[in-house]
Symmetry: C2
Subunit: 325 residues, 2 copies
């Protein structure tokens, strides 16, 4: 396959989403050049657009692609997802197998590494996961956020049968609720949107739309609200000695009442990216309904419209589709 010298890429700058022609990246040794198949717009991408990280460049970190070129010839032609943290490989964190916390890391489409919303993507071969044939490409776009949802289970021990509350019914909330339910927890999800919560309900999750959650009720509460009020609300719902997982980033300072955290000896656990393996396995076994979370698809060159769509209330996942399969 011949590769053109330039490619179309989504570009974010000063809050504007545009399409640019940029050079196809040179592939260094150890890296794979990947042709984008589909990408997913994440809330983080919308936050980059809002300027929260002073980001300018090519965004995108949820994607499925096909390897065009790599050091190891067996990669060529395979359909892959890619872990988004590019770690140094030799620091203490990398040696402990947690390159996701490597202090020298770059992050695909977020920190100092061009993102996936372009015709071609560069990632280290070690970041790639070959996709099983059973996972449709549309589903596979959800591997990265589903891995972030599964990260909770690497951080805290939630025994089967325990009741867990998930606060928030956005994309991440729906993935977290389903991942925990599949793990064997009895999940109760609180949100404002009956239609979104219906996706959770259809997988057996107990849902409460527009209700004030009970106080001091749950041993575990996961805040997926993305709202500055989410943390205080999650703390109000947790039992003494219980655990609140912080799954959604809020920008700037949040006003928090720390007194109930101390008096009730609550544990708060920040949670970010996760390993891809459990997410791939859940999707391979078709245990997570991601299809119902697809709101729209746009061709890559219509990314400006796709970003507008993704930011609308009630919209869940918006995909970008590369031109030629």
């Amino acid at each position: 396959m011949s590769i053109a010298s330039t490619m179309q890429a989504v570009y974010l700058e000063d809050g504007k989403v545009t399409i640019r022609d940029v050079p196809v990246p040179e592939r260094p040794s150890g890296f794979a050049l990947i042709r984008l198949l589909k990408g997913g717009i994440c809330n983080t991408d919308l936050e980059l657009q809002r300027g929260y990280y002073g980001f300018s460049g090519i965004p995108g970190h949820e994607f499925v692609g096909q390897v065009v070129e790599a050091d190891a010839p067996e990669w060529t032609g395979t359909r892959v997802a890619g872990e988004i943290n590019l770690a140094c490989g030799h620091c203490e964190w990398c040696r402990r197998g947690i390159g996701r916390h490597c202090p020298a890391r770059t992050v695909l489409g977020i920190v100092n590494h061009p993102g996936a919303f372009a015709e071609y993507i560069l990632l280290p071969e070690g970041n790639l996961h070959r996709l099983p044939d059973e996972i449709p490409t549309n589903d596979a776009v959800f591997i990265e956020p589903l891995a972030a949802a599964c990260e909770i289970l690497e951080q805290v021990s939630i025994e089967r049968g325990r009741r867990v509350a998930v606060l928030g019914d956005g994309k991440l909330g729906l993935l977290v609720a389903q991942a925990l339910q599949q793990h064997g927890a009895r999940v109760v999800q609180y949100g404002r949107h009956a239609d979104k919560l219906q996706i959770a309900a259809s997988t057996g999750i107990e849902i409460h739309a527009g209700e004030v959650p009970p106080r001091k009720e749950y041993e575990f509460v996961v805040d997926c609200t993305g709202s500055p009020d989410g943390l205080d609300e999650a703390v109000s719902m947790v039992q003494p000695r219980g655990t609140v997982l912080l799954k959604s980033t809020i920008h700037g300072e949040v006003a928090v009442d720390t007194a109930p955290i101390i008096v009730d000896e609550v544990t708060l656990v920040g949670s970010r990216c996760g390993r891809f393996e459990p997410a791939i396995e859940l999707l391979r076994r078709r245990r997570i309904d991601v299809a119902s979370m697809l709101s729209a698809e746009f061709p890559l060159e219509r990314a400006p419209d796709a970003f507008i769509e993704a930011a609308k209330r009630g919209v869940l996942k918006v995909l970008l589709v590369a031109g030629s399969e």
Copy 2:
């Protein structure tokens, strides 16, 4: 011993500390009537004075007393310390042995139970701990706050030899640093007051006075600052995947930057009261220097002056001494 019908008691109301003559409490079955020997003024007492909990009544929860009357005659005449949470004894929390989190609890001198700064104190016999002769009364006043310091070790597993940072050099910070050092951690304490930190240094703790702490350095950081800025500072000092213990209550909402908590997957653990046994054992074996933390003693009837003294900068523990031993 005959008991008078009235007694002197410290009274807090509208920010004023006064001495009142009040009835000696009637002893219900299951309770012990205890004559105060010495009481310690805690930061919480100063906060009650500042009106943070809408408290009015007899304050005081750090004390040593002598049992005057109890159901079980063997208590009479013994020198005791007393756990401060009065639990219902039959709820889920009490059955699990954590009456400190009983939702129906009252708390000595803090929540709906008259405090220890009075000639006589009422507490359930089950709350009492007979004091070993090896512990001087002055030292024993520190059992309650030292138990709160030791609570950290019931909540998180800190292996011997691990480096732990303690932020803050007040009374609680000095007790936390010493308790963790005795446990086998390598403690590094940060504060503003070289003289207070000297107490820690003389027990082998590494101290840093007035220095900006390093970033992302410690696996464990304990916030004992009592300051609204303490939490953000503690989070800045902790490694990715590290743990911050919240040991000091701040009133009202605190502005917190949650992004580093999530990005670095930090765990925050609120921590309050602890079991008395480990604190008594540490003091019996003279492993904690509390004597150096004594700043002043006042007779009970001079409690108004004692509260003024305790609130001064640089002052550590102020004791109230009951009139007649």
